[in-house]
Amino acid sequence: MIFKKLILVGFISLFFSSSLYAADCGPNGQSIRILASDFPAIHAIANAAESNCAGSASEFNRNHTTEARQIMNAAQTPNPAEYTSVIVANSTLVQLMNDGLVRPLDDLVEKYGGHLKSNQLITVDGKIMAIAFMANSQHMYYRTDILEKSGVDGIPATYDEVISAAEKIRAAGIMEHPLVMNLKVGWNVGEVFNTIYLAHGGEFFKPGSAEASINNAKGVAALETMKALVEYAHEDHLTQASDDTQGLWEAGQAAIGFMWGSRGGVILDNEGSSAEVTSNTVLSAAPTVTGGSIPGATLWWDGITIATNVSDSEAEATFAALVSGMTSEMVAANNDDAIWLIDGFKPGPAAAGVSATAQGGAKSYPMFAQMGLLHNALGAELVDFLKGSESAEQALSDVEAVYETAAKDAGYL
C-alpha cells in the first residue's frame, strides 16, 4: 500500500516537474487572482499565464473589467488583498503606490525574469515596481485619399500643418468638420491638453514640489492650439470619447484624427467599416509644434504588479505565472493586438503610429503622485475656454485654483 502511494507520489512529482520544465510556475498549490482592464492584449497575457500555470495553482481567477481603476485601491487595501496581481498602466501604478499597495519585484525578477528585457522593468527609485508588456499612445490617423483630393502635400507633421490641412479639406467642400479628437469633458479633454502642453515643452509642477505650474506662456499657447483644432472638430466633440471617435472614423466622417494607438488594430481590420476607409487610413506620429521636436502625445505602458498584502508564496506563484506568459510565442500568436514590448514583436501598420511617436521623443504620462488631481482639474475647467466663454489665462488660473483646493484637501499641498 505504502509502496503504491510512493509510486503515485513519484508520478505526480514527475508530472509537475514536466510542467515546470515547460514554464516555471513557482510554488505549487497557490491561489492566483488577477484584476485587469478588459482589452485583447491583456487577455492574451492572462490567457498565456493561465494555460501555463493554472494546473499547478489551487485556483486561477481573473476579473477583467474596464472599471478596474475604480475598484483597485479598495480591493487591495485589506490584508489579505482581494487580488494577488493588478495589471496597471502609468497612472494606475501611481494610484496603487500612493497607498503602498504594490510590492518591489527585484528578487522575483532575478528568480523568474531571465527572459525579460531591461526596458520592460519599471523602476521607482531603483526598485522594480512593475513589468511592462505593451505600449500605447495617442497619435495621428489620416485618410490619404481625402488629403490628396483636397490638395494637401505630404503628411501634416505640425499642429499648424494639421490646421491648414483641415482648412483645405473644408474649403474643398469635402467635410465641414474633418477632425476627430477625444474631447469628452473630464479625463479626455484634460488628456488632450496634456499632450499639446508637453509638445510645447511644458512642465506640470514646480520642480520638487506639488505646486502646479501650468498658467504660463506655454499653457496659453497649448490652449490656443487646442482651440484652433477644435474649430475643425465635430460639433458634439465635448461628448466624444474613444468609442465615438472610432465610430466616426469607421463611418468615414473624418479625415484627420487624434486617437489612441490601441484603436489602430480595430480600425484597420475589416469589421465595422468600408474598404474605402480602411485602405486609405494611415497611422503616423503625433504632430509637433512648429519648430518643436516633441510629438504631442503621452506614452503609456501596461504592465503587471504584485500586491503587497498577500503571502510571499502567493506573490511568487502569481509573478511566475504572469511572466511565463511574456514570451515570443505569445507575441507571435497575438502580434496585432498591441504594441508589444516583448521580444519577437513584428510591428505592423497598426503599430506604426505609436512607434513613430515614441521614436520622435514623446514624453511618458507623468508619474507624479498628485498628477491625477491636476488632470481632474484640467478636465473640469478647460471647457469654458473651449466653449469660448473664458480667456485662456482665466481658464488656466481656474485650473490651478481648483487643483490647489483639491490637493490641499487630499494632503498634497
Binding site: F368, A369, L373, K408, D409, G411
Partner: protein, 344 residues
C-alpha cells in the same frame, strides 16, 4: 393615550430613523469637517520603457503613521464649506470688489462649481416641477374620462416613462438627438441647418434635460392625481351640474380644491426629486453645459485614487439644507392649515 404608551409605540420607528437617517447624516457631517493628512512626498527617479524622469512619490510608511494616529484625518473646521469648491467666500469677495456691474459679478459667480451647479439645479427644479404637476393633472383628467375598456392600457402606457430606468431612458434619447439620430436629423432638416446640434449648445442642452425630466416624472404626478380623482364625491359634482356649472367650472371649483392636499404632497416629492437631478446629466454627457448638486457629489468621489470625502460630505450637507429651504414654504403652509382645522 398615555405618553409612555405613545413612546413605546413609536420606539421601533424612532430607533430605525435614528439608525438609518440620523447617524449617517451626522457621520457625513463629521467627515466634511476633516481633510486628509499631509502626504509625505519624496522626489524619486522613475524609469519606464521610454526613459527616466524625476517625479514625486508618496512615502507610504510615513503617511500611514500619520493616518494611524487620527484615522478621521486632519480637522479642518468649516473651511471645506467656504473654499473654492463650495461657497467660495474669499473668491466672491474679490470678484465683488473687482466687478463694476452686477452682471459682471454674476458672470464671475458662474465660474465657481457650486454656484454653477445651483443655477442649473434650481432652474431645473422650478421649471420641471410645475410642468409635471400641470401635465400630470391634465393626463389624469383625460384618462379618467376615457371609456372603461381603454383605461387599463392607457394607464400602462402612460406609466412607461417612469418604468424605464432613468439612465437607459436618457441614453436612448441621447442617441436619438444625435446629428445622425431620428430627432437630431429631423430637427436639422426642419431648420435646414446641418450643424444644428442639441448637444453642442448650452441652451438646447438645458431644454433637452428639462424636457426629459418632465417626460420622466409626469407618470408619478399622473398616477397620484388619477387615484385622487377616484375619491372626488360624485354628489358634489352632480349638485354642481344641476346648478349649471360647466365642465371647466366643475374641475376648477370642485375637483381642484378636493385634490389640493395631493398636489401639495406631489409638489414636496417633486421638489426633493428634482433638486437631486443626476442621471440625465450622466446619460446625456451634459457635464460641459449643465452640472447639478448631486453631480458635484459624484464628481468629488469619482476619482478613486483621490476621493475627496470632505468635499462630498460638505456638498451632501448643502443638498440637505437646500431641500429643507425649498420645502419650508410648503411645510409652513401645511402646518398653518392643520392648526386652523384643529381650531375649527
Amino acid at each position: 393615550m398615555k405618553h409612555s404608551t405613545f413612546l413605546l409605540f413609536s420606539l421601533p420607528s424612532l430607533s430605525v430613523m435614528f439608525l438609518f437617517i440620523a447617524i449617517p447624516i451626522v457621520s457625513v457631517f463629521i467627515q466634511s469637517l476633516h481633510i486628509e493628512h499631509k502626504q509625505v512626498i519624496i522626489v524619486t527617479e522613475n524609469c519606464d520603457p521610454f526613459g527616466c524622469e524625476t517625479t514625486t512619490s508618496v512615502d507610504t510608511e510615513a503617511s500611514a503613521k500619520l493616518k494611524e494616529k487620527a484615522p478621521l484625518g486632519k480637522f479642518n473646521g468649516f473651511k471645506t464649506y467656504s473654499n473654492r469648491m463650495h461657497f467660495a467666500f474669499d473668491e466672491l469677495g474679490e470678484a465683488w470688489k473687482s466687478s463694476d456691474s452686477f452682471t459682471v459679478f454674476v458672470k464671475k459667480l458662474y465660474n465657481y462649481p457650486l454656484y454653477r451647479a445651483l443655477s442649473f439645479t434650481l432652474t431645473y427644479t422650478f421649471i420641471v416641477t410645475p410642468f409635471v404637476l400641470f401635465l400630470g393633472f391634465l393626463v389624469a383628467v383625460g384618462v379618467n374620462n376615457l371609456p372603461k375598456m381603454f383605461k387599463g392600457p392607457t394607464i400602462f402606457a402612460s406609466l412607461l416613462p417612469m418604468i424605464v430606468t432613468p439612465l437607459v431612458g436618457s441614453l436612448i434619447l441621447f442617441w436619438m438627438v444625435d446629428g445622425d439620430g431620428v430627432i437630431g436629423a429631423t430637427l436639422q432638416k426642419i431648420f435646414n441647418d446641418n450643424s444644428l446640434s442639441l448637444k453642442a449648445s448650452p441652451v438646447l442642452t438645458w431644454i433637452m434635460l428639462m424636457v426629459y425630466g418632465i417626460w420622466h416624472l409626469m407618470p408619478f404626478s399622473f398616477i397620484v392625481f388619477y387615484a385622487g380623482l377616484q375619491t372626488v364625491p360624485q354628489e358634489t359634482i352632480e349638485a354642481a351640474t344641476i346648478d349649471g356649472a360647466s365642465k371647466f367650472q366643475r374641475i376648477r371649483h370642485v375637483v381642484i380644491p378636493h385634490l389640493m392636499p395631493l398636489a401639495i404632497f406631489i409638489t414636496l416629492i417633486l421638489l426633493m426629486d428634482n433638486f437631486r437631478v443626476f442621471e440625465p446629466i450622466i446619460g446625456f454627457k451634459a457635464e460641459a453645459h449643465a452640472t447639478s448638486i448631486s453631480w458635484l457629489i459624484w464628481n468629488h468621489l469619482r476619482e478613486s485614487a483621490y476621493p475627496l470625502y470632505n468635499a462630498a460630505g460638505a456638498t451632501s450637507m448643502i443638498t440637505i439644507f437646500g431641500v429643507a429651504i425649498l420645502l419650508l414654504p410648503v411645510l409652513i403652509r401645511t402646518w398653518r392649515d392643520f392648526k386652523e382645522k384643529n381650531k375649527g
